[in-house]
Symmetry: C2
Subunit: 114 residues, 2 copies
DNA sequence: CAACTTGACAACTAATTGGTTGATCAGTAC
DNA sequence: GTACTGATCAACCAATTAGTTGTCAAGTTG
Protein backbone atom coordinates (compact mmCIF):
# COMPACT_ATOMS: atom_id res chain seq x y z
CA UNK A 1 0.00 0.00 0.00
CA UNK A 2 1.63 3.20 -1.16
CA UNK A 3 0.29 6.68 -0.58
CA UNK A 4 -0.03 8.68 -3.77
CA UNK A 5 2.37 11.56 -3.95
CA UNK A 6 1.59 14.37 -4.02
CA UNK A 7 -1.29 13.58 -1.70
CA UNK A 8 -4.60 14.72 -3.21
CA UNK A 9 -6.30 17.33 -1.12
CA UNK A 10 -9.33 15.24 -0.13
CA UNK A 11 -7.07 12.40 1.00
CA UNK A 12 -5.09 14.79 3.18
CA UNK A 13 -8.42 15.81 4.65
CA UNK A 14 -9.39 12.20 5.41
CA UNK A 15 -6.02 11.34 6.87
CA UNK A 16 -6.15 14.38 9.12
CA UNK A 17 -9.68 13.48 10.16
CA UNK A 18 -8.48 10.08 11.28
CA UNK A 19 -5.60 11.52 13.26
CA UNK A 20 -7.89 14.09 14.82
CA UNK A 21 -10.15 11.36 16.17
CA UNK A 22 -7.14 9.89 17.94
CA UNK A 23 -5.93 13.29 19.10
CA UNK A 24 -7.79 13.24 22.38
CA UNK A 25 -6.53 11.63 25.60
CA UNK A 26 -9.96 10.41 26.67
CA UNK A 27 -10.43 8.54 23.41
CA UNK A 28 -6.99 6.96 23.68
CA UNK A 29 -7.89 5.82 27.18
CA UNK A 30 -11.22 4.44 26.00
CA UNK A 31 -9.52 2.42 23.27
CA UNK A 32 -6.94 1.22 25.76
CA UNK A 33 -9.65 0.00 28.12
CA UNK A 34 -11.37 -1.80 25.26
CA UNK A 35 -8.19 -3.81 24.82
CA UNK A 36 -9.32 -6.06 27.63
CA UNK A 37 -12.52 -6.90 25.82
CA UNK A 38 -15.95 -5.45 25.07
CA UNK A 39 -17.32 -2.91 27.50
CA UNK A 40 -20.68 -1.30 28.15
CA UNK A 41 -20.84 2.50 28.10
CA UNK A 42 -21.63 2.79 31.79
CA UNK A 43 -18.79 0.48 32.76
CA UNK A 44 -16.33 2.55 30.74
CA UNK A 45 -17.66 5.73 32.31
CA UNK A 46 -17.04 4.28 35.77
CA UNK A 47 -13.58 3.02 34.89
CA UNK A 48 -12.56 6.31 33.35
CA UNK A 49 -14.17 8.51 35.96
CA UNK A 50 -16.27 10.59 33.63
CA UNK A 51 -19.94 10.87 32.73
CA UNK A 52 -21.87 8.33 30.72
CA UNK A 53 -22.87 10.99 28.22
CA UNK A 54 -19.29 11.98 27.67
CA UNK A 55 -18.17 8.42 27.00
CA UNK A 56 -21.13 7.90 24.69
CA UNK A 57 -20.15 10.98 22.72
CA UNK A 58 -16.56 9.85 22.30
CA UNK A 59 -17.66 6.33 21.40
CA UNK A 60 -19.96 7.80 18.78
CA UNK A 61 -16.98 9.52 17.19
CA UNK A 62 -14.83 6.39 17.35
CA UNK A 63 -17.67 4.40 15.84
CA UNK A 64 -18.11 6.92 13.06
CA UNK A 65 -14.44 6.53 12.23
CA UNK A 66 -14.83 2.76 12.18
CA UNK A 67 -12.49 2.21 15.09
CA UNK A 68 -15.01 0.48 17.35
CA UNK A 69 -17.92 -1.87 16.80
CA UNK A 70 -21.29 -1.55 18.52
CA UNK A 71 -23.53 -4.38 19.64
CA UNK A 72 -26.76 -4.24 21.60
CA UNK A 73 -26.87 -6.77 24.43
CA UNK A 74 -30.02 -6.66 26.51
CA UNK A 75 -30.55 -3.04 27.33
CA UNK A 76 -26.84 -2.38 27.40
CA UNK A 77 -24.64 -1.59 24.40
CA UNK A 78 -21.28 -3.31 24.15
CA UNK A 79 -18.41 -1.63 22.33
CA UNK A 80 -15.31 -3.40 21.10
CA UNK A 81 -12.24 -2.61 19.05
CA UNK A 82 -13.01 -2.87 15.34
CA UNK A 83 -9.55 -2.04 14.01
CA UNK A 84 -6.69 -3.59 15.95
CA UNK A 85 -4.32 -1.54 13.79
CA UNK A 86 -4.92 1.39 16.10
CA UNK A 87 -2.51 -0.02 18.62
CA UNK A 88 0.18 -0.42 16.01
CA UNK A 89 -0.27 3.27 15.37
CA UNK A 90 0.05 4.06 19.04
CA UNK A 91 3.26 2.07 19.22
CA UNK A 92 4.51 3.97 16.21
CA UNK A 93 3.72 7.23 17.94
CA UNK A 94 5.48 6.06 21.06
CA UNK A 95 8.52 5.22 18.95
CA UNK A 96 8.51 8.73 17.52
CA UNK A 97 8.09 10.15 20.99
CA UNK A 98 11.08 8.21 22.24
CA UNK A 99 13.25 9.43 19.38
CA UNK A 100 12.16 12.99 19.97
CA UNK A 101 12.73 12.85 23.71
CA UNK A 102 16.12 11.22 23.20
CA UNK A 103 17.07 14.08 20.91
CA UNK A 104 16.01 16.66 23.49
CA UNK A 105 17.90 14.70 26.13
CA UNK A 106 21.07 14.84 24.08
CA UNK A 107 20.73 18.62 23.94
CA UNK A 108 20.76 18.75 27.72
CA UNK A 109 23.62 16.32 28.19
CA UNK A 110 25.58 18.01 25.41
CA UNK A 111 26.12 14.78 23.58
CA UNK A 112 25.78 14.44 19.84
CA UNK A 113 23.06 12.18 18.58
CA UNK A 114 24.57 9.05 16.98
CA UNK B 1 8.58 -1.64 21.77
CA UNK B 2 5.45 -2.43 23.73
CA UNK B 3 3.03 0.08 25.13
CA UNK B 4 2.37 -0.36 28.83
CA UNK B 5 -1.14 -1.48 29.59
CA UNK B 6 -3.10 0.06 31.07
CA UNK B 7 -1.70 3.23 29.54
CA UNK B 8 -0.67 5.72 32.22
CA UNK B 9 -2.61 8.93 32.00
CA UNK B 10 0.32 11.20 31.07
CA UNK B 11 1.31 8.84 28.26
CA UNK B 12 -2.22 8.93 26.87
CA UNK B 13 -1.87 12.69 26.97
CA UNK B 14 1.40 12.64 25.02
CA UNK B 15 0.12 10.16 22.47
CA UNK B 16 -2.98 12.26 21.89
CA UNK B 17 -0.81 15.36 21.57
CA UNK B 18 1.16 13.70 18.81
CA UNK B 19 -1.96 12.62 16.95
CA UNK B 20 -3.43 16.08 17.31
CA UNK B 21 -0.44 17.63 15.59
CA UNK B 22 -1.11 15.37 12.62
CA UNK B 23 -4.85 16.00 12.77
CA UNK B 24 -4.82 18.97 10.44
CA UNK B 25 -4.95 18.75 6.63
CA UNK B 26 -2.59 21.68 6.10
CA UNK B 27 0.09 20.02 8.20
CA UNK B 28 -0.31 16.73 6.37
CA UNK B 29 0.12 18.59 3.11
CA UNK B 30 3.18 20.42 4.42
CA UNK B 31 4.81 17.15 5.43
CA UNK B 32 3.91 15.65 2.07
CA UNK B 33 5.58 18.53 0.25
CA UNK B 34 8.67 18.13 2.39
CA UNK B 35 8.97 14.59 1.06
CA UNK B 36 10.62 15.99 -2.05
CA UNK B 37 13.34 17.59 0.02
CA UNK B 38 13.97 20.65 2.22
CA UNK B 39 11.84 23.71 1.58
CA UNK B 40 11.89 27.34 2.61
CA UNK B 41 8.81 28.72 4.33
CA UNK B 42 7.92 31.06 1.48
CA UNK B 43 8.25 28.31 -1.10
CA UNK B 44 5.90 26.08 0.88
CA UNK B 45 3.43 28.93 1.23
CA UNK B 46 3.41 29.39 -2.54
CA UNK B 47 3.08 25.68 -3.26
CA UNK B 48 0.26 25.27 -0.78
CA UNK B 49 -1.56 28.44 -1.67
CA UNK B 50 -1.65 29.90 1.82
CA UNK B 51 0.06 32.72 3.68
CA UNK B 52 3.66 32.68 4.84
CA UNK B 53 2.55 33.35 8.41
CA UNK B 54 0.22 30.40 8.36
CA UNK B 55 2.89 28.02 7.11
CA UNK B 56 5.33 29.38 9.66
CA UNK B 57 2.83 28.73 12.42
CA UNK B 58 2.20 25.14 11.36
CA UNK B 59 5.92 24.51 10.90
CA UNK B 60 6.48 25.82 14.39
CA UNK B 61 4.08 23.20 15.73
CA UNK B 62 5.62 20.42 13.67
CA UNK B 63 9.05 21.49 14.87
CA UNK B 64 7.90 21.51 18.47
CA UNK B 65 6.72 17.95 18.02
CA UNK B 66 10.08 16.98 16.55
CA UNK B 67 8.63 16.06 13.19
CA UNK B 68 10.66 18.57 11.18
CA UNK B 69 14.17 19.96 11.43
CA UNK B 70 15.01 23.63 10.99
CA UNK B 71 18.15 25.05 9.39
CA UNK B 72 19.03 28.65 8.64
CA UNK B 73 20.46 29.11 5.15
CA UNK B 74 21.30 32.68 4.31
CA UNK B 75 18.26 34.67 5.23
CA UNK B 76 15.99 31.77 4.42
CA UNK B 77 15.05 28.94 6.77
CA UNK B 78 14.95 25.45 5.36
CA UNK B 79 12.70 22.84 6.89
CA UNK B 80 13.03 19.12 6.35
CA UNK B 81 11.47 15.93 7.64
CA UNK B 82 13.05 14.88 10.92
CA UNK B 83 11.08 11.70 11.47
CA UNK B 84 10.49 9.61 8.37
CA UNK B 85 8.25 7.38 10.47
CA UNK B 86 5.45 9.88 9.92
CA UNK B 87 4.81 8.47 6.49
CA UNK B 88 4.57 4.95 7.84
CA UNK B 89 1.86 6.29 10.11
CA UNK B 90 0.04 7.88 7.19
CA UNK B 91 0.14 4.59 5.33
CA UNK B 92 -1.23 2.89 8.39
CA UNK B 93 -4.06 5.40 8.51
CA UNK B 94 -4.74 4.86 4.83
CA UNK B 95 -4.92 1.13 5.46
CA UNK B 96 -7.46 1.69 8.20
CA UNK B 97 -9.40 4.03 5.94
CA UNK B 98 -9.53 1.40 3.21
CA UNK B 99 -10.81 -1.22 5.62
CA UNK B 100 -13.43 1.13 6.95
CA UNK B 101 -14.60 2.24 3.52
CA UNK B 102 -14.72 -1.36 2.32
CA UNK B 103 -16.94 -2.18 5.28
CA UNK B 104 -19.28 0.69 4.46
CA UNK B 105 -19.26 -0.39 0.83
CA UNK B 106 -20.34 -3.89 1.78
CA UNK B 107 -23.29 -2.39 3.62
CA UNK B 108 -24.43 -0.74 0.41
CA UNK B 109 -23.89 -3.74 -1.82
CA UNK B 110 -25.47 -6.02 0.75
CA UNK B 111 -22.50 -8.35 0.80
CA UNK B 112 -21.04 -9.79 3.95
CA UNK B 113 -17.52 -8.78 4.82
CA UNK B 114 -15.20 -11.81 4.61
C1' DC C 1 24.13 53.57 6.21
C1' DA C 2 19.28 52.46 3.96
C1' DA C 3 16.29 49.37 1.24
C1' DC C 4 14.82 44.86 0.63
C1' DT C 5 13.90 39.90 1.63
C1' DT C 6 12.55 36.23 4.60
C1' DG C 7 10.73 34.28 8.56
C1' DA C 8 8.84 34.57 13.44
C1' DC C 9 5.83 36.44 16.89
C1' DA C 10 1.53 38.80 18.95
C1' DA C 11 -3.17 39.99 18.78
C1' DC C 12 -7.43 39.18 16.95
C1' DT C 13 -11.59 36.69 14.86
C1' DA C 14 -14.23 32.82 13.68
C1' DA C 15 -14.90 28.07 13.96
C1' DT C 16 -14.36 23.71 16.27
C1' DT C 17 -14.94 20.82 20.09
C1' DG C 18 -14.68 18.65 24.93
C1' DG C 19 -17.64 18.38 28.69
C1' DT C 20 -22.04 19.33 31.16
C1' DT C 21 -27.11 19.40 31.65
C1' DG C 22 -31.58 17.95 30.50
C1' DA C 23 -34.62 15.51 27.66
C1' DT C 24 -35.71 11.35 24.91
C1' DC C 25 -35.51 6.57 23.29
C1' DA C 26 -34.89 1.36 23.88
C1' DG C 27 -35.23 -2.52 26.71
C1' DT C 28 -36.28 -4.96 31.12
C1' DA C 29 -38.94 -6.01 35.41
C1' DC C 30 -42.91 -5.69 38.01
C1' DG D 1 -49.96 -0.74 31.70
C1' DT D 2 -46.03 1.85 35.06
C1' DA D 3 -41.41 2.10 36.99
C1' DC D 4 -36.62 1.54 36.32
C1' DT D 5 -32.10 1.17 33.92
C1' DG D 6 -28.87 2.23 30.32
C1' DA D 7 -27.66 4.80 26.17
C1' DT D 8 -28.27 8.41 22.76
C1' DC D 9 -29.57 13.09 21.33
C1' DA D 10 -29.77 18.22 21.64
C1' DA D 11 -28.50 22.52 23.54
C1' DC D 12 -25.36 24.97 25.83
C1' DC D 13 -20.69 26.87 27.69
C1' DA D 14 -15.76 27.18 27.91
C1' DA D 15 -11.49 26.29 25.94
C1' DT D 16 -8.72 25.51 22.04
C1' DT D 17 -7.10 26.72 17.56
C1' DA D 18 -6.75 27.67 12.36
C1' DG D 19 -6.18 31.55 9.70
C1' DT D 20 -5.60 36.69 9.11
C1' DT D 21 -3.38 41.19 9.96
C1' DG D 22 0.24 43.86 11.58
C1' DT D 23 4.75 44.19 13.37
C1' DC D 24 9.42 43.00 14.36
C1' DA D 25 14.05 40.55 13.92
C1' DA D 26 17.77 38.59 11.07
C1' DG D 27 20.27 38.67 6.98
C1' DT D 28 21.48 40.31 2.47
C1' DT D 29 22.48 43.93 -1.15
C1' DG D 30 23.65 48.35 -2.91
Amino acid sequence: MAIPHPIPDPLAQMIAERFKVLGEPMRIRILDHLRDGPRAVGVLADELGTSQQNVSKHLGLLHGAGLVRRERRGNAVLYEIADQGVFDMCEHVCGGLERHLAELQSLVTGEVAP
